[in-house]
């Protein structure tokens, strides 16, 4: 397995973005889980995660950056469950495919936003397929509609988060906190 050559600084930056993402998820997801509404956890978590991922992509910029952050997150979740690992990896692969093949990297804000939204949307169908194994046949059709609504909600909140992320990146660059290579 070979990722593009990242420097120590880039690996550390990606790791800390993931740590921040994990902190936010560890607060938000347990609050939403008891409600048992399909996609609610992802919808609530998406703006914060997307915002942090856009900041990460704006700094890293290389093809493979999305996959790197998703892999770090997924490997940390591997201990919790291989199932969660597979959801996150699916999202990461989709986000990376959009960024790398659609935009050839993450240089433009458009590429960063598209990749992050694809990542958030990609995680949910994997979870949805898994949930079908716990859904009685009679409920599959109505639940599929609920999942479609959830996917739209995830895309919307993720887009809002990604746009907020772009604004934060601009402010951080203006303040001299974030160095972005031309």
């Amino acid at each position: 397995m070979s990722l593009p050559k990242f420097s120590t600084r880039e690996y550390v930056f990606a790791a800390l973005v993931v740590a921040a993402q994990l902190v936010i998820s560890s607060i938000l997801i347990p609050i939403t889980l008891p409600l048992r509404i399909p996609g609610l956890a992802n919808t609530i978590n998406a703006p914060f995660s997307s915002c942090l991922l856009v900041i990460g992509l704006a700094r890293l910029r290389k093809p493979g950056s999305m996959l790197l952050m998703a892999l770090i997150y997924a490997l940390l979740c591997l201990l919790i469950s291989p199932v969660i690992f597979s959801f996150i990896l699916c999202g990461g692969l989709l986000g990376e495919a959009v960024g790398t093949f659609g935009f050839r990297g993450y240089r433009s804000p458009r590429a960063q936003i598209a990749s992050v939204v694809a990542h958030q949307m990609g995680m949910f169908p994997a979870a949805m397929l898994f949930s079908f194994l716990f859904t009685p046949a009679r409920f599959v059709k109505p639940v599929a509609w609920a999942w479609l609504v959830a996917e739209v909600a995830i895309a919307t909140t993720s887009l809002l988060g990604a746009l907020a992320g772009i604004r934060i990146v601009r402010e951080l660059v203006r303040a001299g906190k974030l160095r972005i290579e031309a």
């Binding site: 921040a20 994990l22 936010i24 914060f48 700094r59 009679r138």
Partner: protein, 230 residues
């Protein structure tokens, strides 16, 4: 449930290789999703309960009750939908088995043991280092987030919905960037190079107990398969 931050191995389950635990959990989860007869699912659940007993894994009563309530809700929903108790038991047991695998790895494996175990899979060294950094800095970032929230309250500010990114995410991002710069500088100052070949002080190795646990898991899986297609 988040993995251990560091622990001394106390039971045979704690001493197992992390990849053994993950592999066995994956096999049990995969088979539980493929089996349909409740009778076939029961050996898997019994095996997991035995592992939890051996590993002295205790779940908080609130967590346990919540989990059982969710499984009961799924089973009751299935019973209402299909009117078939067998189908209800199938969905309830499936969910219980998938949930029961979670604390086994999470509460008996430290993050650094997982990373040492993953080193055997020849993943990039930088990726493994990044997993460790993310894990080590989880409590630091959590503490910083609490401070951001306290500082905002001290200033008498209430979080406006439209300004969440400015009030919460902007300071969090600035702090994260500061930490990243400092950690990277400290690593580079100590001559750390992600692209250099790295050795591990004490890499976990596969022992006889790992082989035995794989054999025991295979036996339970076989029993479940036999009960399914008998």
């Amino acid at each position: 449930m988040l993995p251990l931050s560091g622990s001394q191995p106390v039971t045979v389950i704690h001493r197992l290789h992390p990849l053994t635990k993950i592999g066995c959990a994956t096999a049990v989860t995969g088979l539980a999703l493929a089996l349909n007869r409740p009778m076939a699912l029961s050996p898997l659940l019994a095996g997991l309960l035995l592992v939890m007993l051996l590993g002295r894994i205790r779940l908080a009563s609130r967590l346990l009750l919540g989990l059982l309530a969710i499984c009961a809700l799924v089973a009751a929903g299935s019973l209402w939908a299909s009117g078939d108790p067998s189908e209800a038991a199938r969905y309830g047991l499936r969910l219980l088995i998938v949930a029961a695998t979670i604390p086994i790895s999470a509460s008996t494996t430290a993050a650094h043991d997982l990373v040492h175990g993953l080193a055997r899979l020849r993943l990039p060294q930088g990726l493994l280092m990044a997993v460790l950094v993310a894990w080590r800095f989880f409590p630091v970032i959590a503490d910083q987030l609490r401070r951001i929230s306290e500082a905002r309250l001290l200033r008498g500010g209430h979080c406006r919905f439209g300004a969440w990114h400015r009030q919460l995410m902007l300071p969090l991002a600035a702090i994260t960037i500061d930490h990243a710069d400092r950690v990277a500088l400290a690593l580079e100052g100590r001559g750390f190079d992600v692209n250099a070949k790295r050795t591990w002080y004490r890499p976990p190795t596969f022992h006889f107990r790992d082989v035995m646990s794989c054999v025991a898991t295979a036996a339970v899986l076989m029993a479940a398969v036999v009960l399914e297609w008998r």
